[in-house]
Amino acid sequence: MADNITLTIDGKMVEVPPGTLIVEAAQRLGITIPTFCYDERLRSVGACRMCLVEVEKMPKLVASCATPVAPSMVVHTKNDRVIKAREGVLEFLLINHPLDCPTCDKGGECPLQDLTYAHGPAVSRYRENKIRFIEDINQKFDDKPLGPEIILNRNRCIMCYKCVRIVRDLAGEADLGVFKRGAFTNISNLNEVAYADEFSGNTVEYCPVGALLSRSYRYSIREWLLKKATSVCNLCPVGCNMNVEWSAGRVYRHMSRRNREVDDGWLCDRGRYGFDIFSAADRLFKPHIRRGSTLEPCGFDEALIVVSKHLRKIIDQNLGMQVAAVGSPTLSNEEAYAIRHFFDDVIKTPEIDFQTDMAHPVESGIIDLVGLDGAIRDLERDTVFVIVGADPAVEQPVATLLIKKAVSIRNARAIFIGSYDKRLGHFPITNIRIPYGAEGHALEHISNRLENKAASDDIRLNEEALNEIEELARKGERVHIIAGRNFFNHPDRAGFLAAMLRLRKLANARLSILPPQSNFIGVSHFGLFGDVDHSFNKILERIDSGEIKTLFVFGSNPVDEFPDRKFVLDTLKKLEFLVVVAPFMHPTASLAGAVFPQAMLPDYGGTFTNIEGRIQLFEPMSDRPHVAVRPAWGILGEIADLINLGRIWYHDREIRDEIARQLKGMAVLAHMPSDGFLFPFRSQEELETRPVNLKTLPARKNEHSYILQFAQSVHHQGWLTEKSNNLMRISGREAILIHPEDAARDGIVENQAVTVSNSDESITVTARITTHVNRGEALLVNSFTGQPANKLMSRDSSITYVSVKGI
């Protein structure tokens, strides 16, 4: 290891490791060198020339963002030559920059404005017409929509290449490129390609001028009027840190709040542009009570009294067992704890769960395995990724950036095993296609090769890819097995898990099971895990048989989520009293006897737990106009107080103090550190292998039946993201993907409207034809609540067979 290098900057000495850039070394001394094109996470280009400094013994000024330090370097960042160079560069940047500041959304937070004010010329000497990239001769502003969200104004671009580097090096797409040469260089996209990649919002945040702007923020407000609430995104379990920027009770945007351990300053578009779920037009702000056959808005106290009276009666008659509570994996840790504390200690019922989207709930042996094996930052160092039953680029985009980095820079191998092809941008990956449900079989193939056993011939796999995995595993490379969304509702989950455990042992690999919801790990460990006996599936059965008569639903929407819509609808109607805490009047809420408006980010504060087990704090906005909107603990505290069996919780801090006292190892929650803290939720015990007994693979019933599978897209995840106008504008409509041979046989063409039906029900979607799916299988992407796919599913069978017919 080389020694540190000592150099002098502006007369002060500093010692840094070799390879540090001059601008970073200056930062350690507190000297900020102005830059436009420098970003410490992107490869330096040294293009803007704003960071020029004088280094003694070098004839020319040196770009400090692209030059590593050398021993005994003497650097001057503030002498006359450097000041003149900076003024010169700013003058050059401004000669063709349009006078758009009053109408440009970047005004007020624009580095070009700030640096011109600090280092630039006060008056312009340029007397000619400015170069203009005309979009439409009749328009004044030459704004070019690059896609549904991003707007480009090429006149304002100062060619720092940050957007191109983000698109190409980070996300691995090829949407933006540099066209032409010299003074007429401009960044644009090809007309046929819409720029809607999931990291497009980052180019808007990091563009130093108003060349790239968001349509959702366009002309809405000025940055100096916005207040910032520190928050954590709750649309995926990576838990990227962000600031919710709001003013006067309205949320205007989400911006990144860089956390080097989790997101490193990047946000995916789902979290960034999903801010308008909060201000959706049909949000509930008042509680509702059923009078007769209709739900009518009422006061908060009135609703509380109705619920409390009902509960008081139940407690007095010791009928706590007839009550059940079900939460959602998107609730905060405090809400989960409050629900467990209320229903377990006060009502005395064990029927508490959160798995409202599973007919085969996860059991306790698996719950401790859910999560990332290691830290998010460690993903960069793995050399082989075996990704089975998951699409991390769609489910956990920002964590996948590290997989992309490993593949592109460190030559890691990413191998996807699944029944449809996946991608990591344009980075080279291998897709091993298997029939639906054959993940366990595929892993067994690999394990058998590693143990030099013969392979079974139940499925045929890509030999080359298997050779590769075997070779890499034998060489002792760092292997990481990642499972995701398709693990949880897999038709042969036990076999899949056993196969993963066996391969893990043989390849000495790490094993991660990543849930798609934001606080799956937190909610399951802070009290909402009901295990198989008290899972939501069992609760429904008990409601059906009459054992449970009262159900509390917090935050979830079982009618849309549970894989058997008919059963849920029929069962919930049998309840005596259904209380739903919901942000919208969704189908489950419309069946309720009492509905409470649920608090959404940033109405309330609390903590989420991400896939690494990092508990992160999010804070509410300080100006909350709607008094009746409460998180789950707010409502339960009031009820407990009314029935004289508890106290009102006024602040999430109070619950954290109680958790710190009650739960082991949680003492630090009483004093939450600002960048979160890691808790070892994942079982640290040595994972034993178990015998692998794989079920037979599902077979196609006949030529016209398809096995139905589901995939989510980045922008559409379910009924909640559907409420965001921004995300719906970017996401496509639902589509069902079928193989060309099947399409030919069933007479279906591209983009045709089709009905997807089982024997009883049907939905209407658009058909897309692609070879990326298997014959006999149909992949439904984006199930919208208007055409709910869970109509076609049944809890008795984990395989759904459908037929697809053109309209």
Partner: protein, 176 residues
């Protein structure tokens, strides 16, 4: 005894008339009182009265809702919300000035980059209801259309310089 009488004589017959002589002198001087409301006051051009929003000569509003006037205002009395016309021009959908908060300093006029807002010579806008002092964009434009436009034409200040940018030919790249 005599001395007292002299003091009394001085104060009554000398001091009082001396003082009263000033009063009598002013009694016959022309008063400087302006007989408002019969006589209208004369203002310098730069008198700061009620605000008005200006238009271009083709009738469109100048204000692009940039927010600088609100940011410059020391009394925080300007509120605006922006929108975009179908042809892509930014404008203020809502623009309100709370004239009761306003201190008529003129910082908004100095800050405006579009020569859109000025303080005019209107000072007679009293009302009995506080709500009447929230001047909306329409009221401010009406102030311009009906009253200030003529005054501006006759005045030296403000001299509105910019006309709406008419795009001619773009810079001809040489050698291409």
């Amino acid at each position: 005894m005599n001395i007292d009488m002299w003091q009394t004589f001085k104060s009554v017959f000398i001091a009082i008339p001396t003082g009263l002589s000033i009063t009598f002198r002013y009694l016959f001087r022309k008063p400087v009182t302006e007989q408002y409301p019969k006589v209208r006051p004369k203002f310098e051009d730069r008198y700061r009265g009620l605000h008005y929003l200006t238009r271009y000569s083709d009738g469109s509003e100048r204000c692009v809702c940039c927010g600088l006037c609100a940011a410059a205002c020391p009394a925080d009395c300007i509120y605006m919300e922006c929108a975009e016309t179908p042809s892509g021009i930014r404008y203020a959908r809502i623009y309100e000035i709370n004239e009761l908060r306003c201190i008529f300093c003129g910082m908004c006029e100095e800050a405006c980059p579009e020569e859109a807002i000025f303080l005019g010579h209107e000072f007679e806008f009293s009302s009995g209801d506080r709500d009447d002092f929230i001047y909306t964009k329409e009221m401010l434009l009406a102030n311009y259309d009906k009253i200030e436009k003529e005054r501006v034409a006759k005045r030296i200040k403000p001299m509105i310089r910019q006309e709406r940018f008419q795009f001619k030919k773009p810079a001809a790249p040489i050698g291409h």
